[in-house]
Amino acid sequence: MKILILGAGQVGSTVAENLVGEANDITVVDSDGEKLVQLQDRLDLRTVVGNAAHPSTLEQAGIGDADMLLAVTQSDEVNLVACKLAASLYNTPTRIARIRTVDYLKREELFNTDNFCVDFSICPEQILTDYITKLIEFPEALQVLEFADGKVSLVAVKAFEGGPLVGKPLSFLRTHMPQVEARVAAIFRQDRAIIPEGSTVVHAGDEIFFIAASDNIRRVLKEMRRMDKPTKRVMIVGGGNIGRRLAKALESDYNVKLIEFNKKSCQKLAGELTNTLVLNGDGTDEKLMQQENVKEVDVFCALTNDDENNIMSSLLAKQAGARKVIALINRSAYVDLVQGGKIDIALSPAHVTIGSLLAYVRQGDVAEVHSLRRGAAEALELVVHGDRDSSRVIGRLIGEIDLPKGATIGALVRGNEVIMGHHDTVIEAEDHVIVFVVDKKMVKKVEKLFQVSLGFF
C-alpha cells in the first residue's frame, strides 16, 4: 500500500516505523528537514521537506497515486486542510487526520465529505487517557483493552500468590466459576510465551492475558491475585495534554491532585478543571510530595514530556508509599529497562496509540488493533464477511480453523452477544472475532486467513 504520512513527530515516526515493517511504501512529509534525515537513516522510506498543507508539497510527495493519507502534524488546522486538499484535488481514497482540539471533535459534521473530508480522526492523547483511566479503574491490571465498542475486554494481569487460580491448572477456572465466561489467551512466563491449554498450571509471577465480557473483568481478576481496595486518590504529575485530559476524565469520580511545574499552565488548568486540586511545583520534589501525602495515594501517574523526570518522580512516589505508579516513557529502551521493576507500569504512548492507526492500514476488515507487550504481540478484532464458500472461517468450528501456532481465537461478538471461543464454537458471517497473536510476525497470516477470497466480489 502507498501511504503518505504528514508530520514526523512522535506519532508520525512511530507509525512509519511500524508500517515500513509491514511492507508498505511510505513517504513522510515534514517542515523540519533534520527530523526527516534521521528518519531516513533508520528506515527505508522517502521523505519530502515542506509545508504539508501546500498542494505543491503534496504533489512532490506523490499524493496522486497514494492509497492513504495520514495527517498527523502538530497542527490540527494543517491536518484538516491536507485532508480537504487530498479529497478535492487528488481523490485520495482514505484520509485520516489527527485532531486534538475538542472544539473540532464536538462538531462531527466538520469531518464529512461536504466539509473537511476526514474519513477517520484520531486523537492520541484521548486514547492514552482512556487507557490510563481503565488502569485506574482496575488497579490490579497491567493492561485493559476494549474490543467491539467495549463489550469485550482483554486484560493483562500478573498472577500473585494468594489468587485462587495460582498453582492450579487453567481448567480449574471453569469449575471454580461456572457462571462467568472467560478465556485465557496467553501466558508469558519469564518473557516466554506459553500457549495455554486446560492443563497449563498458573505460577505466581506469570503475566496472564485473559478475555472476558467487560462486566466480568473484576471477578476474573480476583482469581489471579488478591484484590486491592478500589482507587480513591490519584496524583498526576504533568499538566500537559494528557495530564489535563486525564484529570478532567477522573475528577468527578476520584480525588485528583495535579502537579505542574509551569505557573502559567497551572492557572489555565485550575481555570479549566473543577474538582482537581492543582499544585504548582516540581514532580520530583519529595517535600511537596510528602506535604501532599503521597503515601496515601492509590495511583500515581507521571505524565510529563520528560522521560527521566517521569521515571524519577514515580520512583520517588513508590518509595514514599504510593500503591501503584505509572510512568509515561517515550523512549522504548527505557520502557524495557523500567517495566517490572519498582515502577508498576511503564507506558509507551507510541505503542498505546499505534493500534488505532494500524486498524485502518490492515487488509481485511479490521475493527480494532491493540499492540501488546511493547509491540511484540498483538490483539486484533476482525470482522468476517462472506459465506462458507468464499471464506475460510465461516461455518467452521474454531477447532477446525487452520490458525498459525501462537494465535488463539479468544471470543466472538455476534450482535450484542459475547461468546467465548471454545473448540466447538461455530463462526458465522458478520461475527467480530477477537484474535490474540503471540508473535507479531504471524499477523499477516491471520489476516489472510480471515480475508474473503476473490470469488466473493
Binding site: 502537579i259 505542574e260 505557573k263 497551572c266 492557572q267 488548568l269 485550575a270 481555570g271 473543577t274 486540586l277 492543582v278 499544585l279 504548582n280 511545583g281 511537596l288 506535604q291 501532599e292
Partner: protein, 486 residues
C-alpha cells in the same frame, strides 16, 4: 476649569433629556383634569429644560473630550442635580414641605430606596404620586444608562459613564458591540417587563393608577407606594403574589433577562450563578422565616405565616421596601435577617441595592480559598464563579469595596448616634439607606417613616442613599486629592 466645562456641557444635555420625564405626570394631570398641576409640571419642565439648555449652550465652545475622570464627576453631578430639579413639583404642590425633606424624597425615589418623609400618600394628587414612582422606575436601571441609550452623541465617554453607574464588580461583558445599543436593549427589556407588570397588577385587582405606580416601584425595586400602609392596604394575597414574582424578576441582572429573551431560552438563568444564588437565598429565607414565625406563634397557621413572611422577606431582601404587615413587631431575628438579606441578595445589573450577590459570592469563595491555601501551600486555586475564572484584581477590588462599605455604614451610623438617635434606629436607617431598601426598624420602621428625623439626620440618610446607589467608589473618588490633580 476646562474639565468642569466639559462636565457641565454633558450635564446640561442630560438635564434637557431629563426634562421630558415630566411629560408623564403632565399626562396624568390631564387625565384627572387637574389643570393646576399640569401647569405646575409644565413650568418645572420649562425650568429644567432651560437650565439644561443654558448650561449646554454656555459651555459649548469650551468643552473638551469626555474622559474617565469626567465620567465619575458627571455621574455624581447628575445624581445630585436631578433629584434637586425633581423636587420642584413637590415643593410647589405640597404645602409646608422643606427643601431638605423634598430632596430626601426625590433622592430616595431616584436611588430606589423608597423611604418617604410624606404622610397622607393616599390623598396626594395622582400626578404627584406618578412622579414619585416614576423616579423609582427611572433610577432603577439608571438614568445615565437611559441617557446613553438615547444620546449616542456622548460617544466614547458612554461606556465609562455606563460603568460608573451600573452596579456590580464586573462590567466589561458587553451584550452588544455598541454601548448605546446595549443600553437601549436593557431599557427595552425593562420597559417590556414593566408593561407586563402593570397589566398583571390591574388584572389582580388594582386600579390603573395603582397598577402603574406599583409596577414602577416594583420593577425599580424602589418601594414607593400610593398608600401610607403600603401594599398592606390592598389586603389581597393575589396582589402580593404578583408583586413577589415581579420583584424577583427585577432582582436578577437585566442582562440575563436580555440574553434569555434574545436566545428564547430559560437555561440562561440557570447559568447565571448570581441569579441562582439570589433566588435560592431569598426563597429559602421565606420558608425558613415562615417556619420561625409559626414556631414563635406570631401566626397560628403556617400558611398565614408563609404569606406574610414571603411578601415582606422578598420585599426587603430585594431592597424594595414595601410592607404588608408591621414586621417590626416580629421577633427580632426575622427583621434583622431581612436587613441582612437586603445587603447581599440583589444581583449586579439588577435594580436592587446592597453589596450585590456577586460580591457576596466572591467573598465566600475567597474565604474558602484561604482555607485550601492553608492546607495545600503549593496550590493554584483561582476563584471561579459559574465556571468562569475571576481575576485576582477583581477580588481585591471587591475586598476594597467591602471595607469602604462597612466603614461608610460605621461612620454614618456614628453620625446619627451623635445627633441623638437610638442605636437600632440609627443603624437600621443607615443600613436601609445605603442598601437602597427603605424602611429600617425603630423610629424609621415599616409602620412609621423618616419624617421624625431632624434635618441633619435626613441629610445623612440622603448621603447614604447616594453613595449606596453609586456603589461608594464613584462618589468617594471625588474626595480624593488625586482626582483633582492634573
Amino acid at each position: 476649569m476646562r474639565r468642569l466645562f466639559t462636565v457641565f456641557h454633558a450635564l446640561g444635555l442630560m438635564l434637557v433629556v431629563f426634562s421630558f420625564a415630566y411629560l408623564l405626570p403632565v399626562i396624568t394631570g390631564l387625565i384627572y383634569s387637574d389643570y393646576i398641576l399640569v401647569w405646575d409640571f409644565l413650568l418645572t419642565m420649562l425650568w429644567t429644560f432651560s437650565a439644561g439648555a443654558l448650561m449646554w449652550l454656555l459651555t459649548k465652545r469650551r468643552k473638551g473630550e469626555l474622559s474617565i475622570r469626567h465620567g465619575y464627576l458627571l455621574v455624581v453631578a447628575m445624581w445630585t442635580a436631578m433629584p434637586a430639579f425633581a423636587t420642584l413639583p413637590l415643593l410647589m404642590m405640597i404645602p409646608n414641605l422643606s427643601f431638605t425633606d423634598a430632596y430626601f424624597e426625590t433622592m430616595s425615589g431616584m436611588t430606589t430606596t423608597g423611604a418617604t418623609v410624606l404622610t397622607g400618600l393616599d390623598n396626594l394628587p395622582p400626578a404627584i404620586n406618578v412622579w414619585r414612582h416614576q423616579l423609582n422606575w427611572m433610577g432603577g436601571l439608571g438614568i445615565i444608562v437611559l441617557a446613553v441609550a438615547v444620546l449616542p452623541l456622548l460617544g466614547i465617554g458612554g461606556r465609562q459613564l455606563f460603568k460608573a453607574e451600573t452596579p456590580g464588580p464586573m462590567k466589561d461583558t458587553a451584550l452588544t458591540p455598541r454601548i448605546a445599543e446595549t443600553a437601549r436593549n436593557l431599557w427595552i427589556v425593562y420597559l417590556a417587563i414593566t408593561l407586563l407588570c402593570i397589566v398583571t397588577l390591574k388584572w389582580a385587582g388594582m386600579s390603573w393608577l395603582d397598577a402603574v405606580c406599583h409596577a414602577f416601584s416594583a420593577m425599580g425595586l424602589g418601594g414607593f407606594s400610593t398608600h401610607d400602609s403600603s401594599v398592606g392596604w390592598f389586603q389581597s394575597p393575589l396582589i402580593e403574589f404578583v408583586m413577589i414574582v415581579f420583584m424577583l424578576f427585577a432582582v436578577i441582572n437585566f442582562a440575563t433577562h436580555f440574553l434569555a429573551w434574545r436566545g428564547r431560552s430559560l437555561k440562561v438563568y440557570a447559568r447565571d450563578a448570581e441569579a441562582v444564588a439570589s433566588l435560592w437565598l431569598i426563597i429559602g429565607s421565606c420558608f425558613a422565616i415562615a417556619l420561625f414565625l409559626w414556631w414563635q406563634d406570631t401566626y397560628p397557621e403556617y400558611l398565614t405565616a408563609l404569606r406574610h413572611a414571603s411578601f415582606n422577606v422578598v420585599s426587603i431582601a430585594t431592597s424594595s421596601g414595601y410592607a404588608s404587615v408591621d414586621y417590626a413587631q416580629w421577633p427580632i431575628f426575622a427583621p434583622l435577617w431581612m436587613m441582612f438579606l437586603t445587603a447581599i441578595a440583589a444581583s449586579s445589573g439588577s435594580t436592587g441595592g446592597g453589596i450585590k450577590m456577586i460580591r457576596t459570592l466572591v467573598l465566600v469563595k475567597q474565604a474558602g480559598r484561604e482555607f485550601i491555601q492553608l492546607l495545600h501551600p503549593a496550590v493554584v486555586n483561582p476563584m471561579k464563579i459559574g465556571g468562569h475564572v475571576v481575576a485576582n484584581n477583581i477580588v481585591f477590588a471587591v475586598l476594597g469595596f467591602i471595607f469602604l462599605y462597612f466603614m461608610s455604614i460605621m461612620t454614618l451610623t456614628f453620625a446619627l448616634l451623635i445627633s441623638g438617635l437610638d442605636f437600632i434606629s440609627a443603624f437600621t436607617a443607615i443600613l436601609a439607606s445605603i442598601n437602597n431598601c427603605g424602611p429600617g426598624l425603630g423610629v424609621v420602621g415599616p409602620a412609621s417613616n423618616y419624617q421624625g428625623l431632624t434635618d441633619f439626620q435626613t441629610w445623612v440618610c440622603t448621603l447614604a442613599m447616594l453613595i449606596g446607589r453609586l456603589e461608594i467608589f464613584t462618589v468617594l473618588i471625588l474626595f480624593t486629592p488625586a482626582f483633582w490633580r492634573r
